[in-house]
Subunit: 187 residues, 2 copies
């Protein structure tokens, strides 16, 4: 691919500076020389942890205001300014489920490349030890444990809808090579 | 879980109305009665298609302005107002890779539940037939084909970073039960 796909920033305008996000509206030059605007949400980045204990994984139930509903997700959290992602992962795991653990890096992902710069670093956490840390003041959570094989079923039935959670569970499924259930093979 | 996790909207304020996103800053009441603000990005929703032909999948190279880099992703696109997601999937597939196909619904996912309401409907597209449709005016794409097994390797090596793309490939891997490579089983 030697086609030039880049878009050149001509003007940048900050629309909003929130506690978590910054919103920009930029004027850009397209590869064909024409101009358009691009809307960008800037986010500090996040971590997500697939915490495994005795073949079970931890899921966190919480109310997601943006979705106006409760979700079940792997423990996760925003990176503080200048914080190392792995340190953040250990801190957030203690805050959300009360355990510290050994972090194994899984990968880094873009959640919404069409309009946001958010990246999420995913870890597998094991060798868990109880070590709670009081959590964010405005966060209210419920914690459950689910066998990994059951979590995979919940993914394939689309009961779990959070992208990072589904990605982490399918990743672990691939790593540990859980046999596919017969119901998924018919087609 | 009978703990009450809901957050009640007290005041809603629209900060920005863009071409694609709307940004809101709401004052909410937390489960403990305290108040805080929530930043919300509203998005029209999207579709993503894992298009399969002779054991190969299609990936699209494009410049993502929000990330300031080129990415490799499955074909995808925003839902037009009032558009049925499956109709959108067929349209976007024709626009992005030039093929129409039979859509098999995979599931619906939340990309960034912490700050955005974006949902993405994923489909597996097969029985592909050449039927190009001219694409969005400000979209510049390159299309490649990769064997599914190789795409799974690209996922596990974190060469592919787009969450919906990784999710769709791992989902297909689970469905088709591709054996895990030995390198993923050592641990």
């Amino acid at each position: 691919m030697n086609e030039k796909l880049d878009e050149k920033r001509l003007v940048t305008k900050t629309i909003y500076e929130g506690k978590i996000i910054r919103v920009k509206e930029d004027l850009v030059e397209l590869p064909n020389g024409k101009e358009t605007t691009r809307e960008v949400v800037q986010h500090p980045g996040a971590v997500g942890m697939l915490a495994v204990q005795d073949g079970q994984i931890f899921l966190v139930r919480q109310y997601r205001y943006a979705l106006q509903q409760e979700t079940l997700e792997i423990p996760a959290g925003k990176i503080d300014r200048g914080e190392d992602p792995e340190i953040c992962a250990i801190r957030e795991l203690r805050e959300e489920i009360g355990y510290t653990g050994k972090m194994k890096y899984m990968g880094t992902f873009h959640t919404s490349p069409g309009f946001a710069d958010e990246i999420i670093h995913l870890y597998q956490a094991d060798e868990l030890q109880w070590s709670p840390l009081s959590s964010d003041e405005d966060e209210f959570l419920g914690v459950i444990k689910v066998p990994l094989a059951e979590a995979v079923d919940m993914v394939m039935n689309n009961e779990l809808k959070d992208a990072k959670t589904v990605l982490a569970i399918l990743w672990a499924n691939r790593l540990f090579a859980i046999p596919a259930g017969a119901e998924y093979l018919e087609k």
